[in-house]
Symmetry: C2
Subunit: 275 residues, 2 copies
């Protein structure tokens, strides 16, 4: 690459860093890329770090020593995350979302890539300091959220299927009881999909009693894998405490009431904001 | 926001633009955001434009007049797209991907968010000049690709289900014949998911004879919607031309042979590179 002026280099480096979250980039990579001295690169990075961190979009970690470099850690400030949860809650409370069986129509929201990416960035903030190998979800509606989270954390996504698919090779299947209906279902994961002893972040769009998430946790045991965390976009608060299978999770929004008769829905920010 | 030096402003503006593809941003937004004169903002944008366009990561369009502003159009150069397709082809040709029935295991590749985002950016390059309202896919494996494409084009994603789900409300169902097995399947789309007369970009991970994509096209007719384009990550070239249901699509990789006996797989870059 030809030598760039500082102004152009700042634009290029910003673009380079933003597209590589949670990745260590040695200073020498930049120095060679731009034909610049490491001292100039360090000055550039100080400017970028200040803008990123003051703007609340994340942290630029500097790693000293032989493996010296920088790592971009995208984060969402508590203030912006809460604003997101409040907007989401308002949208979820629209009365025309109520479906027969008191289900809530959410596909229009789940279908917005920018909204999913924002939620994924909040999960990446919540779980970014943990030792995680993969993000896991079960088909179907949690998939965009799992990929958004995986992209921000620079982690692969493992997809649990409802049925055993010919395109997955040999798989491990388990039965689980879904809390909403207390009915028995099957989920399966390809043997090839995950290494043994992986540390797994489970992500889903919606959780009621937690049966589906508990199913994924049971499936992890078959791979000698462990849960590093559980994040759901929306939880239903209308569950008796003795019915709830899971207590250790974070949610971004909490559905506290759905009344089909009065067409009233109550939603508030989730337990992520309780602390 | 406090006044920023030019260097800091360039970093901030770069970050702002990159997170808002295919979105018109008026110059006044930047001028107010940074308390700077429009002439200074224009100079900044000229620097950013040059870096983006020379680096081959996209185009920064300038819109003159009262609605004056800029629009960031992410693009992948033909050279980088071909390099991507060649890497993908090499990975797909690994012999241990062959599954019973001559299916190919692809979930490890589809599980990499960064790889999906790169493919999505290539689709956004291919279809970015077209008039499109939504990106559509059918569950399950094409979902990350559809979201990656939707994110780059700033478009919502519409998800066709294999079964009618309680969480989707009233839906339109159709039957379709899947080319691989000539067997009859059902797919359905929520009535609420898409406006009538939408222009739709169909995205999927794999296409053989095209039965599944043809199913989605048939479903569009029920919504008085039209196909704006079809993009698949991998197509199977081992289809007789009279069996192929669809001819107007782009693919990024083409599977030309899978031989379970010799454990040989041939893959080459897709028809996107034929021009």
């Amino acid at each position: 690459m030809k030598k760039l002026k500082r102004s152009a280099r700042l634009v290029e480096m910003t673009q380079y860093l933003l597209s590589r979250p949670h990745t260590v980039i040695p200073l020498t990579t930049f120095a060679e890329r731009y034909g610049a001295a490491k001292s100039s690169i360090s000055e550039d990075l100080a400017i970028i770090k200040e803008v990123f961190e003051e703007g609340g979009s994340g942290e630029l970690h500097t790693l000293a020593g032989a493996a010296g470099g920088v790592k971009w850690i995208p984060k969402v400030s508590r203030e912006l995350a809460l604003a997101f949860a409040e907007r989401l809650s308002t949208q979820l409370a629209q009365p025309d979302r109520i479906l027969p069986g008191e289900y809530l129509y959410m596909s229009d929201l789940l279908g917005q890539p920018a909204l999913m990416n924002e939620a994924g960035k909040i999960f990446a903030t919540a779980f970014g300091n943990m030792d995680i190998d993969v993000v896991m979800t079960v088909e179907t509606k949690g998939i965009p959220l799992a990929y958004a989270t995986g992209a921000q954390l620079n982690l692969p996504v493992v997809l649990v299927r409802r049925d055993h698919q010919a395109t997955e090779g040999s798989a491990v299947s388990i039965n689980y009881v879904s809390g909403s209906h207390k009915s028995l279902h099957t989920m399966s994961l390809s043997r090839r999909a995950m290494r043994e002893h992986s540390r797994v972040l489970i992500v889903d769009d919606f959780m009621k009693a937690g049966g589906t998430v508990q199913g994924m946790i049971d499936l992890l045991a078959e791979f000698n894998a462990t849960v590093a965390g559980v994040g759901v976009l929306v939880e239903s608060g209308s569950v008796d405490s003795e019915e709830r299978l899971l207590t250790d999770y974070i949610s971004l929004a909490k559905l506290t009431a759905v009344d089909a008769k009065s067409r009233h829905i109550s939603v508030k920010p989730g337990n992520y904001f309780d602390l």
